[in-house]
């Protein structure tokens, strides 16, 4: 813990909390065998494909892995562009 933290009374999270958070991230990747790198590539491809049909807000697209018990889902949140909806290039 740094001296500043001591003075301000801020505490480091317990090693238990850190362990749990690290494991949560690692287990998601282990289970679906998708590295962050591959997930980003998938996201880029998906955006390109969808963009051919409809205008989307590229920056706002979210692709996440969601888990419940031991089952995993890819969840995509793809906001459509405002205004020029439906007008394709």
């Amino acid at each position: 813990m740094g001296i500043l933290d001591k003075l301000t009374g801020r505490r480091e999270p317990s090693s238990r909390t850190v362990a749990k958070e690290r494991l949560q991230l690692v287990l998601v990747q282990d289970r679906v065998q998708l590295s962050p790198h591959v997930l980003q590539a998938l996201k880029d491809d998906l955006i390109d494909t969808i963009s051919r049909y409809v205008d989307i807000d590229r920056e706002a697209v979210e692709i996440t892995i969601s888990q419940n018990q031991r089952e995993s889902w890819l969840v995509a949140n793809i906001p459509l562009s405002r205004g020029r909806a439906g007008s394709r290039r």
Partner: protein, 267 residues
């Protein structure tokens, strides 16, 4: 269909599979069940030492598989419990000496004679692990509450699911209650939430395990051993009894307890 074949396995090595197999074996035998503990860790025989039967071995599992003796000749009866047996692993061979199909055939024979067939699996997700998994009706995953063991347990659970041997059940071993209380160790709830499988046992870190292993008399034989009680509870749960999980022990010495009593505000 006869006895139940239960494989005791893990992802990471050294988390307590052999200790668990011996102690659950004792626990089940104390409940009047006939039990055989099979050491499938070929080349790294260990269960015989933990059960205290190392000086009684004549034949081993590979001798049976290769037809050098009959199955009954290789079974070693426990020194204390007449319904508990060991089928030892070969020490001078390697894991390729037995195939999954041979293990399956062997277990089908044992199923006719025993209520419970407990398979002590080797560590690591390779040949030995698959051979021990192949005949399983049920699977128990052992882990300790540390990051690498939990991560590897998750991989092992994934393999069990892929082999359609699931759902596996979980034993969390070597829980250090003082560290848990200080927030410096994953809690039981954390591990169960992370691995998302059913919990069947929690076993404290307990020096009686080391002492009983030294003597070759599993802690489950010892009425006073806390870990021994934890293992007996698991045996009861396996037979369908509902047994509450025991509270974590306080390992604090009397001095610490006294100071806490004197200065209650400080803790």
């Amino acid at each position: 269909m006869g006895g139940r074949i239960i494989t005791i396995t893990s992802g990471k090595g050294g988390v307590g599979k052999t200790t668990t197999t011996a102690n659950i074996g004792v626990g089940l035998a104390l409940l009047g069940k006939s039990v055989v503990c099979v050491d499938t860790d070929i080349g790294l025989r260990n269960l015989d030492l933990v059960m205290g039967l190392d000086n009684r071995i004549v034949y081993d599992l590979v001798d049976v598989v290769e037809g050098r003796c009959r199955l009954k000749q290789a079974l070693v009866r426990d020194r204390h419990l007449s319904e508990l047996y060991l089928l030892p692993a070969a020490q001078t061979r390697d894991k390729t000496a037995v195939s999954a199909a041979q293990m399956q055939a062997l277990c089908d024979e044992l199923r006719k004679e025993f209520d419970f067939i407990l398979l002590d699996s080797p560590a690591g997700i390779e040949t030995g692990f698959h051979n021990a998994l192949a005949p399983a009706d049920e699977v128990i995953i052992v882990t300790t509450p540390d990051v690498s063991a939990v991560r590897d347990a998750d991989r092992a659970i994934g393999f069990v699911e892929a082999q359609e041997k699931g759902p596996a059940r979980l034993i969390i071993n070597r829980i250090k209650s003082d560290l848990v209380r200080k927030g410096e160790m994953l809690t039981i709830e954390d591990v169960v939430e992370l691995l998302a499988i059913e919990l069947i046992g929690i076993v404290p870190e307990d020096e009686t395990i080391i002492m009983s292993t030294n003597r070759g008399t599993p802690a489950a034989m010892d009425r006073k051993s806390l870990a021994g009680q934890a293992f007996r509870n698991i045996a009861k749960r396996l037979t369908g009894q509902e047994v509450p999980f025991m509270p974590l022990p306080s390992n604090d010495g009397w001095l610490k307890r006294l100071t806490r009593f004197v200065r209650p505000a400080s803790s």
